[in-house]
Protein backbone atom coordinates (compact mmCIF):
# COMPACT_ATOMS: atom_id res chain seq x y z
CA UNK A 1 0.00 0.00 0.00
CA UNK A 2 2.87 2.35 0.91
CA UNK A 3 4.55 1.73 -2.45
CA UNK A 4 1.25 2.27 -4.25
CA UNK A 5 0.75 5.58 -2.47
CA UNK A 6 4.29 6.56 -3.36
CA UNK A 7 3.73 5.78 -7.03
CA UNK A 8 0.46 7.72 -6.97
CA UNK A 9 2.11 10.70 -5.31
CA UNK A 10 4.89 10.51 -7.91
CA UNK A 11 2.36 10.36 -10.74
CA UNK A 12 0.42 13.32 -9.36
CA UNK A 13 3.61 15.33 -9.03
CA UNK A 14 4.49 14.48 -12.64
CA UNK A 15 1.14 15.77 -13.88
CA UNK A 16 1.42 18.85 -11.69
CA UNK A 17 4.89 19.68 -12.96
CA UNK A 18 3.76 19.13 -16.55
CA UNK A 19 0.78 21.42 -16.24
CA UNK A 20 2.72 24.12 -14.41
CA UNK A 21 5.58 23.97 -16.88
CA UNK A 22 3.13 24.48 -19.69
CA UNK A 23 2.10 27.81 -18.16
CA UNK A 24 5.49 29.35 -18.95
CA UNK A 25 5.24 29.30 -22.77
CA UNK A 26 1.74 30.71 -22.51
CA UNK A 27 3.20 33.89 -21.04
CA UNK A 28 4.90 34.38 -24.39
CA UNK A 29 1.43 34.77 -25.89
CA UNK A 30 1.07 38.20 -24.37
CA UNK A 31 4.28 39.34 -26.06
CA UNK A 32 2.98 38.13 -29.42
CA UNK A 33 -0.13 40.29 -29.57
CA UNK A 34 -0.14 42.07 -32.91
CA UNK A 35 0.36 45.81 -32.84
CA UNK A 36 -2.75 47.90 -32.66
CA UNK A 37 -3.91 49.19 -36.01
CA UNK A 38 -5.25 52.72 -36.12
CA UNK A 39 -6.95 53.13 -39.47
CA UNK A 40 -9.42 55.98 -39.76
CA UNK A 41 -12.93 54.91 -39.01
CA UNK A 42 -14.91 54.24 -42.14
CA UNK A 43 -18.55 55.12 -42.57
CA UNK A 44 -20.84 52.56 -40.93
CA UNK A 45 -19.17 49.27 -39.97
CA UNK A 46 -15.75 49.51 -38.35
CA UNK A 47 -13.83 46.27 -37.83
CA UNK A 48 -12.72 45.82 -34.22
CA UNK A 49 -9.08 45.67 -35.30
CA UNK A 50 -9.37 49.14 -36.83
CA UNK A 51 -10.58 50.80 -33.66
CA UNK A 52 -8.21 53.21 -31.92
CA UNK A 53 -6.12 51.54 -29.19
CA UNK A 54 -8.06 53.26 -26.41
CA UNK A 55 -11.27 51.57 -27.55
CA UNK A 56 -9.75 48.13 -28.06
CA UNK A 57 -10.14 45.39 -25.48
CA UNK A 58 -6.75 43.73 -24.88
CA UNK A 59 -6.88 40.04 -25.79
CA UNK A 60 -3.84 38.86 -23.83
CA UNK A 61 -5.46 38.93 -20.35
CA UNK A 62 -8.46 37.03 -21.71
CA UNK A 63 -6.28 34.37 -23.39
CA UNK A 64 -3.99 33.97 -20.39
CA UNK A 65 -6.97 33.98 -18.04
CA UNK A 66 -8.70 31.25 -20.05
CA UNK A 67 -5.59 29.04 -20.14
CA UNK A 68 -4.85 29.63 -16.45
CA UNK A 69 -8.43 28.79 -15.49
CA UNK A 70 -8.30 25.51 -17.39
CA UNK A 71 -5.03 24.49 -15.72
CA UNK A 72 -6.24 25.52 -12.28
CA UNK A 73 -9.53 23.68 -12.80
CA UNK A 74 -7.81 20.46 -13.88
CA UNK A 75 -5.18 20.67 -11.11
CA UNK A 76 -7.78 21.27 -8.41
CA UNK A 77 -9.78 18.30 -9.69
CA UNK A 78 -6.71 16.01 -9.77
CA UNK A 79 -5.78 17.18 -6.26
CA UNK A 80 -9.34 16.56 -5.05
CA UNK A 81 -9.40 13.01 -6.47
CA UNK A 82 -5.96 12.15 -5.07
CA UNK A 83 -7.02 13.44 -1.63
CA UNK A 84 -10.24 11.43 -1.71
CA UNK A 85 -8.35 8.35 -2.94
CA UNK A 86 -5.79 8.62 -0.16
CA UNK A 87 -8.54 8.96 2.45
CA UNK A 88 -10.51 5.97 1.06
CA UNK A 89 -7.31 3.88 0.90
CA UNK A 90 -6.61 4.64 4.57
CA UNK A 91 -10.19 3.70 5.49
CA UNK A 92 -9.89 0.48 3.47
CA UNK A 93 -6.71 -0.58 5.26
CA UNK A 94 -8.30 0.05 8.67
CA UNK A 95 -11.50 -1.78 7.73
CA UNK A 96 -9.65 -4.81 6.33
CA UNK A 97 -7.66 -5.02 9.56
CA UNK A 98 -10.86 -4.90 11.62
CA UNK A 99 -12.57 -7.55 9.46
CA UNK A 100 -9.51 -9.82 9.70
CA UNK A 101 -9.25 -9.53 13.49
CA UNK A 102 -12.94 -10.35 13.94
CA UNK A 103 -12.73 -13.49 11.77
Amino acid sequence: MKTRNGVRRCAMSLLLVGLLASAAPALALSAQQPGSQTEAAREGYVPVKDLPPAEQLPAAPLVLGAYALIWVGVLVYVWSISRRLASVDRELVALRRMVDTRR
Binding site: R4, V7, R8, C10, A11, L14, L15, V17, G18, L19, A21, S22, A23, P25, A26, A28, L29, Q32, Q33, P34, P47, V48, K49, L57, A59, A60, L62, V63, G65, A66, Y67, L69, I70, G73, V74, Y77, V78, I81, S82, R84, L85, V88, D89, E91, L92, L95, R96, M98, V99, R102, R103
Partner: protein, 223 residues
Amino acid sequence: MRKSFVVWLGVAAVMFVVAPILVVRAPYESTMGLVQKIFYYHAPLGMMMFRSAFVSGIAAGIFIFNRRAAADRVSLAAAEITVLFGSLVLITGPMWARKAWGVWWQWDARLTSSLLLWMIFVAYLLVRRYGGPGSDKLSAAVALFGMANVPFVYVSVNVWRTLHPKTSVVPTLQPGMREVFWFCVAAFAVLYGVLLALRVRLATQQAEVERLYLELDDQSELS
Protein backbone atom coordinates in the same frame (compact mmCIF):
# COMPACT_ATOMS: atom_id res chain seq x y z
CA MET B 1 -1.91 2.19 -9.06
CA ARG B 2 -1.11 0.33 -12.25
CA LYS B 3 2.06 1.05 -14.17
CA SER B 4 0.18 1.73 -17.44
CA PHE B 5 -1.85 4.37 -15.64
CA VAL B 6 1.29 6.20 -14.54
CA VAL B 7 2.62 6.00 -18.10
CA TRP B 8 -0.57 7.61 -19.47
CA LEU B 9 -0.39 10.29 -16.80
CA GLY B 10 3.17 11.04 -17.94
CA VAL B 11 2.03 11.14 -21.59
CA ALA B 12 -0.73 13.63 -20.64
CA ALA B 13 1.77 15.81 -18.74
CA VAL B 14 4.21 15.87 -21.68
CA MET B 15 1.42 16.71 -24.13
CA PHE B 16 0.29 19.61 -21.94
CA VAL B 17 3.85 20.94 -21.88
CA VAL B 18 4.09 20.77 -25.68
CA ALA B 19 0.56 22.04 -26.49
CA PRO B 20 1.02 25.70 -25.41
CA ILE B 21 4.29 25.91 -27.35
CA LEU B 22 2.45 24.77 -30.48
CA VAL B 23 -0.40 27.19 -29.72
CA VAL B 24 2.05 30.09 -29.47
CA ARG B 25 3.63 29.12 -32.81
CA ALA B 26 0.30 28.60 -34.61
CA PRO B 27 -0.60 31.29 -37.16
CA TYR B 28 -2.85 34.17 -36.17
CA GLU B 29 -6.43 34.13 -37.34
CA SER B 30 -6.85 37.23 -39.53
CA THR B 31 -9.96 38.81 -37.99
CA MET B 32 -9.77 37.79 -34.33
CA GLY B 33 -6.02 37.84 -33.74
CA LEU B 34 -4.70 36.66 -30.40
CA VAL B 35 -8.03 35.89 -28.74
CA GLN B 36 -8.68 33.11 -31.29
CA LYS B 37 -6.02 31.07 -29.50
CA ILE B 38 -8.55 30.31 -26.74
CA PHE B 39 -10.16 28.07 -29.39
CA TYR B 40 -7.29 25.52 -29.13
CA TYR B 41 -8.34 24.61 -25.59
CA HIS B 42 -11.99 25.68 -25.60
CA ALA B 43 -13.14 23.50 -28.53
CA PRO B 44 -11.31 20.30 -27.44
CA LEU B 45 -12.77 20.78 -23.95
CA GLY B 46 -16.22 20.99 -25.55
CA MET B 47 -15.53 17.81 -27.55
CA MET B 48 -14.43 16.00 -24.40
CA MET B 49 -17.54 17.27 -22.59
CA PHE B 50 -19.68 15.67 -25.32
CA ARG B 51 -17.64 12.47 -25.16
CA SER B 52 -17.95 12.33 -21.39
CA ALA B 53 -21.71 12.88 -21.56
CA PHE B 54 -21.92 9.96 -24.00
CA VAL B 55 -19.77 7.72 -21.78
CA SER B 56 -21.95 8.60 -18.78
CA GLY B 57 -25.18 8.02 -20.72
CA ILE B 58 -24.09 4.70 -22.26
CA ALA B 59 -22.79 3.41 -18.91
CA ALA B 60 -26.06 4.54 -17.29
CA GLY B 61 -28.02 2.61 -19.93
CA ILE B 62 -25.96 -0.53 -19.21
CA PHE B 63 -26.60 -0.04 -15.49
CA ILE B 64 -30.34 0.41 -15.98
CA PHE B 65 -30.74 -2.68 -18.18
CA ASN B 66 -28.05 -5.04 -16.78
CA ARG B 67 -27.73 -3.81 -13.18
CA ARG B 68 -23.93 -3.80 -13.41
CA ALA B 69 -22.44 -1.84 -10.52
CA ALA B 70 -19.23 -1.22 -12.50
CA ALA B 71 -21.26 0.57 -15.21
CA ASP B 72 -22.83 2.78 -12.55
CA ARG B 73 -19.38 3.73 -11.29
CA VAL B 74 -18.24 4.64 -14.83
CA SER B 75 -21.41 6.70 -15.32
CA LEU B 76 -20.82 8.61 -12.08
CA ALA B 77 -17.15 9.24 -12.92
CA ALA B 78 -17.97 10.47 -16.43
CA ALA B 79 -20.78 12.70 -15.13
CA GLU B 80 -18.39 14.39 -12.71
CA ILE B 81 -15.86 15.02 -15.49
CA THR B 82 -18.65 16.30 -17.76
CA VAL B 83 -19.42 18.92 -15.12
CA LEU B 84 -15.73 19.83 -14.77
CA PHE B 85 -15.13 20.15 -18.52
CA GLY B 86 -18.51 21.82 -19.00
CA SER B 87 -17.64 24.44 -16.38
CA LEU B 88 -14.35 25.18 -18.15
CA VAL B 89 -16.11 25.42 -21.54
CA LEU B 90 -18.74 27.77 -20.11
CA ILE B 91 -16.07 30.00 -18.56
CA THR B 92 -13.55 30.09 -21.43
CA GLY B 93 -16.24 30.59 -24.11
CA PRO B 94 -17.41 33.95 -22.70
CA MET B 95 -13.77 35.06 -22.38
CA TRP B 96 -13.44 34.61 -26.13
CA ALA B 97 -16.92 36.07 -26.78
CA ARG B 98 -16.16 39.25 -24.84
CA LYS B 99 -13.45 40.13 -27.35
CA ALA B 100 -14.99 38.61 -30.49
CA TRP B 101 -18.66 39.60 -29.99
CA GLY B 102 -18.35 42.43 -27.48
CA VAL B 103 -20.53 40.63 -24.92
CA TRP B 104 -19.80 37.96 -22.33
CA TRP B 105 -22.95 35.95 -22.99
CA GLN B 106 -25.67 35.66 -25.59
CA TRP B 107 -28.81 33.55 -25.09
CA ASP B 108 -28.41 31.86 -28.46
CA ALA B 109 -29.09 28.20 -29.21
CA ARG B 110 -25.53 26.85 -28.75
CA LEU B 111 -24.75 28.67 -25.53
CA THR B 112 -28.14 28.01 -23.96
CA SER B 113 -28.19 24.31 -24.91
CA SER B 114 -24.61 23.89 -23.61
CA LEU B 115 -25.64 25.47 -20.32
CA LEU B 116 -28.62 23.12 -20.21
CA LEU B 117 -26.37 20.09 -20.80
CA TRP B 118 -24.09 21.22 -17.98
CA MET B 119 -27.08 21.75 -15.67
CA ILE B 120 -28.40 18.24 -16.43
CA PHE B 121 -25.13 16.72 -15.26
CA VAL B 122 -25.02 19.00 -12.21
CA ALA B 123 -28.52 17.67 -11.49
CA TYR B 124 -27.13 14.12 -11.88
CA LEU B 125 -24.51 14.80 -9.20
CA LEU B 126 -27.03 16.50 -6.89
CA VAL B 127 -29.47 13.58 -7.22
CA ARG B 128 -26.59 11.21 -6.55
CA ARG B 129 -25.45 13.15 -3.50
CA TYR B 130 -28.76 13.97 -1.85
CA GLY B 131 -31.24 11.55 -3.49
CA GLY B 132 -30.97 8.83 -0.83
CA PRO B 133 -31.72 5.16 -1.56
CA GLY B 134 -32.49 4.47 -5.21
CA SER B 135 -30.73 7.61 -6.38
CA ASP B 136 -28.41 5.49 -8.55
CA LYS B 137 -31.30 4.49 -10.85
CA LEU B 138 -32.79 7.97 -10.86
CA SER B 139 -29.45 9.56 -11.70
CA ALA B 140 -28.87 6.98 -14.45
CA ALA B 141 -32.08 8.19 -16.09
CA VAL B 142 -30.82 11.78 -15.79
CA ALA B 143 -27.55 10.74 -17.50
CA LEU B 144 -29.51 9.18 -20.39
CA PHE B 145 -31.46 12.41 -20.73
CA GLY B 146 -28.19 14.37 -20.72
CA MET B 147 -26.68 12.14 -23.41
CA ALA B 148 -29.77 12.62 -25.58
CA ASN B 149 -29.19 16.39 -25.36
CA VAL B 150 -25.67 16.19 -26.87
CA PRO B 151 -26.67 15.88 -30.59
CA PHE B 152 -28.98 18.89 -30.19
CA VAL B 153 -26.14 20.96 -28.73
CA TYR B 154 -23.86 19.88 -31.57
CA VAL B 155 -26.22 20.71 -34.45
CA SER B 156 -27.70 23.81 -32.80
CA VAL B 157 -25.21 26.10 -34.57
CA ASN B 158 -26.23 24.75 -37.97
CA VAL B 159 -29.99 24.61 -37.41
CA TRP B 160 -30.60 27.91 -35.62
CA ARG B 161 -29.16 31.34 -36.30
CA THR B 162 -26.45 31.80 -33.68
CA LEU B 163 -23.44 33.98 -33.04
CA HIS B 164 -21.36 30.93 -32.20
CA PRO B 165 -19.13 29.62 -35.04
CA LYS B 166 -20.58 26.68 -36.98
CA THR B 167 -19.38 23.06 -36.88
CA SER B 168 -17.74 23.63 -40.28
CA VAL B 169 -14.92 25.64 -38.62
CA VAL B 170 -12.92 22.58 -37.53
CA PRO B 171 -12.92 20.71 -40.89
CA THR B 172 -11.92 23.91 -42.72
CA LEU B 173 -9.03 24.91 -40.43
CA GLN B 174 -5.95 26.17 -42.24
CA PRO B 175 -2.77 24.04 -42.25
CA GLY B 176 -0.70 25.15 -39.28
CA MET B 177 -3.83 25.61 -37.17
CA ARG B 178 -5.27 22.19 -37.97
CA GLU B 179 -2.34 20.15 -36.60
CA VAL B 180 -2.17 22.22 -33.41
CA PHE B 181 -5.91 21.87 -32.88
CA TRP B 182 -5.87 18.07 -33.27
CA PHE B 183 -2.82 17.81 -31.03
CA CYS B 184 -4.76 19.67 -28.32
CA VAL B 185 -7.73 17.35 -28.90
CA ALA B 186 -5.42 14.35 -28.42
CA ALA B 187 -3.94 15.91 -25.24
CA PHE B 188 -7.39 16.44 -23.76
CA ALA B 189 -8.46 12.95 -24.84
CA VAL B 190 -5.52 11.43 -22.94
CA LEU B 191 -6.21 13.68 -19.94
CA TYR B 192 -9.86 12.65 -20.05
CA GLY B 193 -8.91 8.96 -20.06
CA VAL B 194 -6.58 9.44 -17.10
CA LEU B 195 -9.12 11.43 -15.09
CA LEU B 196 -11.85 8.89 -15.86
CA ALA B 197 -9.62 5.99 -14.76
CA LEU B 198 -8.71 7.84 -11.55
CA ARG B 199 -12.33 8.66 -10.74
CA VAL B 200 -13.55 5.13 -11.51
CA ARG B 201 -10.86 3.77 -9.21
CA LEU B 202 -12.05 6.09 -6.45
CA ALA B 203 -15.65 4.90 -6.92
CA THR B 204 -14.48 1.26 -6.85
CA GLN B 205 -12.58 1.80 -3.61
CA GLN B 206 -15.61 3.56 -2.09
CA ALA B 207 -17.79 0.58 -3.05
CA GLU B 208 -15.27 -1.75 -1.39
CA VAL B 209 -15.42 0.37 1.79
CA GLU B 210 -19.22 0.06 1.83
CA ARG B 211 -18.98 -3.70 1.32
CA LEU B 212 -16.54 -4.04 4.22
CA TYR B 213 -18.82 -1.99 6.51
CA LEU B 214 -21.68 -4.37 5.66
CA GLU B 215 -19.41 -7.36 6.37
CA LEU B 216 -18.50 -5.84 9.74
CA ASP B 217 -22.21 -5.36 10.52
CA ASP B 218 -22.88 -9.00 9.65
CA GLN B 219 -20.01 -10.12 11.89
CA SER B 220 -21.35 -8.05 14.80
CA GLU B 221 -24.82 -9.54 14.39
CA LEU B 222 -23.42 -13.08 14.36
CA SER B 223 -21.25 -12.62 17.45
